[in-house]
Symmetry: C2
Subunit: 334 residues, 2 copies
């Protein structure tokens, strides 16, 4: 659905601030607790969080993260789930969210209602209340920013901690997210929390900009990710795109981004077999794939590993003149 209307009665401007806030509370329903624990005061008051908290923020922006081909409900779900994926990547549990919206006053009320219903659906599914927010005008476009507070598990799994020789694993399948997955994905909260309890897991992140780019953040000094191209779990969507894109399916799997899967390092000296067996018992329907190791560059070349330098992840500030029409992330074939 296109977010804007040239017909004023259909727009949020016609509704006005007070009625719009009332409508938002109605759209959010039981996912927004009563003040002071939710919307309606200067701040939301949150429950006591034992241990460390986690904090993350990510937006969805019209023309960048969604377009007219994505339903407003799916755009709202995507906003929430992107942030849940960040909490999952550290093994944490989500606690509460706040949402700030900036939009052109020509925004359709119907669009916004569906967007908030998407937020509410995810809130309900993962039991994470939406405790506050803000609405404000801007001249053009829609920017929705969600900040998510979480609580850390007894162990916080960060991006650092991998050592040379450690194995690399990824959940799910990669590539082709622009066809559907970029809004239809499931954040790996259960898996992240489970992985944080496994001793061999040393570092973790979610795959948002594409494995080729994201993996660089996990690599210990003096190593590169040495990937086995044949092992890479390439999605059906990546293979479908490769038929017409002039790029390989592996390129799509490494570069498309927005996979929202978990990638993690596993200690070389930890028992991998029992770990993989435990995974299969716990998450029988979600593939876990060993895709390679962190090796010194010379050893990676000798092992005939994929040359990740030939692939690129998503570059957030790249010049994309048609970004407002075709917002999904892509790169020309290298």
């Amino acid at each position: 659905m296109h977010p804007f209307s040239a017909h004023p009665p259909e727009t949020v401007s016609a509704l006005g601030e007070r009625r719009l806030i009332e409508a938002i509370r109605r759209w959010l329903g039981d996912t927004s607790p009563r003040t002071p624990f939710g919307i309606g005061d200067d701040c939301a008051v949150l429950p006591i969080i034992p241990g460390h908290s986690l904090l993350t923020v990510d937006p969805v922006i019209y023309g960048e993260h969604f377009d007219d081909a994505v339903s407003p409900q799916a755009a709202g779900e995507k906003l929430f789930k992107r942030n849940l994926s960040d909490i999952a990547a550290m093994g944490g549990r989500p606690v509460a969210a706040v949402v700030a919206l900036a939009f052109d006053g020509r925004l359709k009320t119907r669009w916004l209602a569906a967007f908030y219903r998407g937020l509410a659906a995810v809130s309900r599914r993962y039991q994470v209340p939406i405790v506050g927010g803000d609405i404000a005008r801007q001249r053009e476009g829609v920017v929705a920013t969600l900040t998510l507070l979480g609580r850390a598990a007894s162990r916080v799994v960060t991006r650092t901690g991998a050592r040379p020789g450690d194995a690399l694993y990824v959940t799910g399948r990669l590539g082709g997210s622009r066809l559907r997955h970029h809004w239809a994905f499931t954040p790996r909260l259960e898996q992240g929390a489970w992985l944080a309890r496994q001793r061999g897991v040393r570092s973790m992140m979610d795959v948002s900009d594409g494995l080729a780019k994201d993996l660089l953040a996990l690599a210990p000094a003096g190593t590169v990710p040495a990937l086995d191209g044949a092992a890479l779990p390439v999605s059906a969507a990546a293979r479908r795109l490769a038929r017409t894109s002039g790029r390989t399916a592996i390129d799509h799997a490494l570069s498309d981004g927005e996979d929202y899967e978990l990638v993690f390092s596993f200690a070389a000296d930890a028992p991998a077999g029992p770990f993989e067996a435990r995974w299969r018992r716990t998450f029988p329907s979600l593939p876990l794939t060993r895709i390679g190791r962190f090796l010194p560059p010379a050893e990676a070349r000798a092992a005939d590993a994929l040359d990740l330098g030939a692939y690129h992840g998503f570059e957030h500030l790249a010049h994309r003149p048609d970004a407002h029409r075709k917002p999904r992330r892509r790169r020309p074939s290298p």
Copy 2:
């Protein structure tokens, strides 16, 4: 400073994502802790907060909350301070902030550097680290959204709790914020924390949309705010504006908004004299003014109180065709 440049080398797009993130970390300096306690992982890991947390989010948007007449440093300071004011309004203490930016790729690097330096200055002044964030493109404009986590005092002062007959107090002076105060104000953190410890203080909020509008949120059922027009602490800026605006200084004081002062109710049966004397000893340079009481409408009329219905606060979604050129909030005289 105008935020955008038609000369590509001056823009953030020329810098690219990796170098821009490096630059942001440099601009923030010691106000951004090292990962995992700051920027650089999927989430920031926060210290353990004893007791309840507070969470609030507010943006600054180009053309709405600042314009070319406001320096980028002041715009950054304003963003941070608006949120600090919300924590102050509940008597809390700020703990950590995250900042998400959405901007047109033509944004000047020099503008953004000064904006982040403004954020860093406030971070340093109030000892609140900036622990995470996001940067993303949009087609036009600048939206900067800050989410602030705080910790509650042993008592959280909400907007509800006033009773009929309670006195109303406001800190500082009101009106005319668009001349300078809307970015130059000081969030009343010390005062908010102090007021939360005073037994007579029953409810509190900060004045952001103008007293005429904001006070309605504090009024107990069956009452109206009965204000003494002569007692109202009108700012010099409100008097200056009134000379040429065709509106009264009191109208400016009640309707302009962005005062970021604290307004609170004080129990009718609590000793007001000793309370006021303690305030003067504690905050000798900040006026505290008793401006009226919450009364049933008939009693308010009999007391010759200001008719607040004749004044209006800021309406966030009102049609302002020139909002991008004259973003400061105002209303025609009633």
